[in-house]
């Protein structure tokens, strides 16, 4: 187990190193630069060049990359060229919106996906199960933006129950308002992700139903449902753990889109704005933080999976 954990940790570090190089290179492909944007549509080429130099953009790329990685090793994600604030501080500030949003979305996805997935498997020969399964197919295919707009129209515009956009200016000092502001965006992501999870849970449950031990338990006089609940579900749970990493990545991507739509001042919205203004040191810091988060989640999921699944433990 220890050896497995160390190997897996090595992979995580390697993944981060590759990601940092990929992020750095791919951002440099974008046309235009921050100096041009700051100087604006009046500056002479000389002025833009002078600004570029003062921002350190005229240093060779390989050196910029090494400086950045050097900073990363000291725990410094870099500094925004536009506001001069540290990327860590900015990300931490915006994470106050994005992290609760992601957590709420994940909770909703689990609450939808797991029970309904099991139900639709159990009732697969009944109308209800079919409806659930087809409904999930349809929902999983819905673009997040469209789902969000529909929810806004119904719950915010028609019914007026929830705010249609924005985040309270007091932030979490007004926890009630902050939570209310996140309900619709989290529902939007949660329903779409939950529908995907539902389909996954359904097939995992169907697989479990066909397993020998469930059939044996059923033969001993348990109902199929009881047999599944006592013997099959632990295995379904294990399979769910493995897709959680993917789910969380999906939620992060969803958050970028949804924060735009709902004007939430989170990491995703900041990222989009920073790309537009070519604040590349900040963008690469943000992207690496997000990538790192997803990779670490995957790492933790794998370790947990290993710990709780007896078959995997024996294999090591």
């Amino acid at each position: 187990m220890i050896r497995y954990a160390l190997t897996r940790l090595g992979l995580l570090v390697l993944g981060l190193a590759v990601a940092s190089a990929l992020i750095f290179v791919s951002l440099r492909v974008l046309p235009g630069d921050v100096a041009q944007l700051i100087a604006g549509a009046e500056a002479t080429p000389q002025q833009v060049a002078a600004l570029r130099a003062s921002l350190g953009l005229d240093v060779p790329l390989w050196q910029q990359y090494l400086d950045w990685v050097g900073g990363l090793l000291r725990g410094d994600l870099g500094t925004s060229l536009i506001t001069g604030t540290s990327v860590v501080a900015e990300v931490v500030d915006k994470a106050r919106v994005t992290v609760p949003l992601a957590a709420m979305s994940l909770t909703i996805a689990l609450l939808i996906g797991i029970p309904l997935g099991v139900l639709s498997a159990l009732g697969r020969r009944r109308v209800g199960g079919t409806v659930l399964s087809v409904g999930a197919q349809a929902l999983a295919a819905v673009p997040v933006v469209w789902a969000g707009m529909m929810l806004v129209v119904v719950f915010a515009v028609w019914l007026g129950w929830l705010p249609p956009q924005g985040f309270p200016r007091a932030g979490w000092d007004d926890p009630g308002a902050a939570l209310r502001a996140l309900i619709l965006p989290a529902l939007t992501i949660g329903v779409v992700e939950g529908a995907m999870l539902l389909r996954f849970v359904r097939s995992a449950t169907l697989q479990a139903l066909g397993q020998d031990y469930v059939r044996t338990a059923a033969a001993k006089g348990l109902t199929r449902t009881r047999a599944l609940l006592t013997h099959g579900l632990p295995n379904v749970g294990l399979s769910v753990i493995t897709v959680l990493g993917l789910q969380i990545a999906g939620i992060i991507v969803g958050a970028v889109v949804i924060e735009q739509l709902f004007t939430l001042p989170g990491v995703g919205r900041m990222l989009v704005a920073d790309v537009a203004s070519r604040d590349l040191p900040k963008v690469q810091g943000e992207l690496l933080a997000l990538t790192g988060f997803v990779l670490v989640v995957g790492f933790v999921v794998d370790l947990v999976h290993r710990l709780v699944d007896p078959r995997q433990r024996e294999a090591s």
Binding site: I38, E42, A43, T83, K94, A156, P164, T263
Partner: protein, 503 residues
């Protein structure tokens, strides 16, 4: 003198409105109760400044938020009075008959938000720095200044090398803003000005909060706090108004206007702008070097139909908008005629022409869509290259690498771009350059205006570009709000006089 084209990514979408008649709403809001001095005014707008450093960072969003509210110059403009130049930190000024010497009397009792008193030295240093430091936005506006001095504590004298009738107007812009000498404020994230509001908080990606400055030299602001809520999504902005999250929503989507009107809590306001939606032709690139081709493209566009599509717009037939000196009504100088367009293209040997339009992705797709079908109708294939604004700046503005381009030039009095052959329009006409230079050099306003009008007619006759429309975005203003400004809100949003009633 180079005038800044505030292609402001930030100003792109912002504007004021025209023709009160077209909205059918009365523009006089009648608040339902007495003004509440402790009120917060929330304004929804779309484009946020990238930082608060108004001296070094481009973008109209900065001017809109900070000039007149937080920072001031010696003079400012009154958008609701034909952009007349009015006193700010100077109480009076005198221009010598030769147009070279400007003598300003400074206002007494002005303090910065940090409490320190404004001195003549602050004024001289601010202007001298803006002139000498090329990294300061609009520094070129002061290039023609020979000297800046203060003979006594309440007087500042500026001497020009040549007369420049636009100089006073230039002082209403960024180059004329007055800062404290040796200020150590971190201007990227904070501010220290002399205006009626101070910057209270800036939540990036969300809002900029301004608080009433109690030490203000003039009449104190009518509300305790202003929150500029940056809401880029147009339907979210409308929802915010409907929901009561904002008291005013600027540049609302006309398609969604009825939702706001349906609440009964808002009036739709109208004003004027200098926001010229410009379809630029690369005058240096064949076949656009051929005037017949340019004219054909203009003839292929049904401007009246386009204005109906855009809704918040009116037609504009030349480079100078109604609010600027030198404006004349050029209606009829070009009118929709696809048959003539086809003839001209045939004459120019430009059948089966294929061109690319480079357009920043902040604009509604209805504009490129309209152009594609208009041009297809006369046998011109238009490819649309939708890019982000930074890419537009590099490809079009800096490298002049484009056929056709669309942006909204929001800035007032920017005709100088047509007299600048190295500008991205690539329009090089010595006669226009000479007329423009004369229009600046004269001290007679009427003569200056006539010369500009003559130059503008030439630019229009030569089809140097097409002015698709004059933007006239609409603002939804709560019935509780009084004295909200109307004109040119895309570049100036002076909020000191605005009040909000209790209920």
């Amino acid at each position: 003198m180079l005038r800044r084209a505030a292609l402001a990514t930030s100003a792109l979408l912002i504007g004021a409105v025209l023709l009160t008649s077209c909205t059918g709403s009365n523009t006089a809001t009648t608040p339902t109760g007495p003004a509440n001095p402790d009120a917060t005014l929330a304004v929804g707008l779309s484009l946020e400044p990238s930082n608060l450093d108004i001296r070094h960072t481009s973008g109209a969003a900065l001017e809109q938020a900070l000039i007149d509210n937080v920072y001031q110059g010696l003079v400012t403009r009154n958008g609701d009075d034909d952009n007349a130049i009015v006193a700010a930190l100077a109480t009076a000024w005198n221009i010598s008959p030769d147009g070279l010497t400007y003598t300003f009397t400074l206002r007494d009792g002005v303090t910065f938000h940090d409490g320190s008193a404004l001195t003549a030295d602050d004024v001289v240093t601010s202007l001298q720095t803006a002139k000498d430091d090329a990294t300061i936005q609009n520094s070129a506006d002061l290039a023609n200044v020979a000297s800046i001095a203060s003979p006594d504590a309440s007087t500042v004298v500026i001497t020009l090398a040549q007369p420049n009738i636009d100089f006073l107007f230039a002082l209403t812009g960024r180059a004329g803003l007055i800062f404290k000498n040796g200020d150590t404020t971190n201007f990227q994230t904070a501010a220290n000005g002399t205006g009626p509001f101070r910057v209270e908080a800036w939540n990036t990606g969300q809002s900029l909060t301004l608080a009433r400055y109690d030490g203000y030299w003039g009449e104190r602001a009518g509300v305790a706090e202003v929150v500029l809520d940056y809401i880029p999504d147009r339907s979210a902005a409308v929802n915010a108004a409907v929901n009561g999250d904002v008291d005013v929503a600027l540049e609302i989507d006309p398609e969604l206007q009825s939702q706001i009107e349906g609440t009964g809590n808002f009036t739709i306001e109208s004003g004027l702008t200098t926001d010229k939606a410009t379809l630029a032709f690369n005058n240096q690139r064949a076949p656009l070097t051929d005037q017949r081709v340019r004219e054909a493209l203009r003839l292929a566009i049904d401007h009246d139909a386009l204005v109906q599509t855009v809704v918040a717009a009116q037609t504009l037939n030349g480079p100078i908008p109604p609010l600027d000196p030198g404006y004349e009504d050029l209606t009829g100088s070009i009118s929709y005629n696809p048959d003539r367009a086809r003839e001209l293209l045939a004459e120019a040997g430009a059948e089966n022409l294929s061109l690319t339009l480079t357009i920043p992705n902040v604009y509604p797709t209805s504009i490129p869509t309209f152009l594609v079908s208009s041009f297809a109708d006369v046998g011109v294939t238009l490819k649309v290259n939708s890019v982000d604004f930074t890419t537009w700046l590099q490809d079009v503005y800096t490298n002049h690498d484009y056929d056709l381009s669309f942006v909204r030039h929001v800035e007032a009095r920017d005709f100088g771009n047509w007299a600048n052959p190295s500008y991205y329009f690539g329009y090089d006409n010595p006669q226009v350059q000479s007329l423009y230079a004369q229009s600046l050099a004269t001290t007679d306003e009427q003569q200056s205006s006539d010369l500009l009008a003559e130059a503008a007619r030439i630019v229009d006759d030569e089809d140097a570009a097409d002015w698709l429309f004059l933007s006239a975005p609409r603002a939804a203003v709560s019935t509780k709000v009084a004295n909200f400004p109307k004109n040119s809100l895309n570049v100036r949003l002076p909020l000191a006089g605005v009040t909000v009633s209790s209920e």
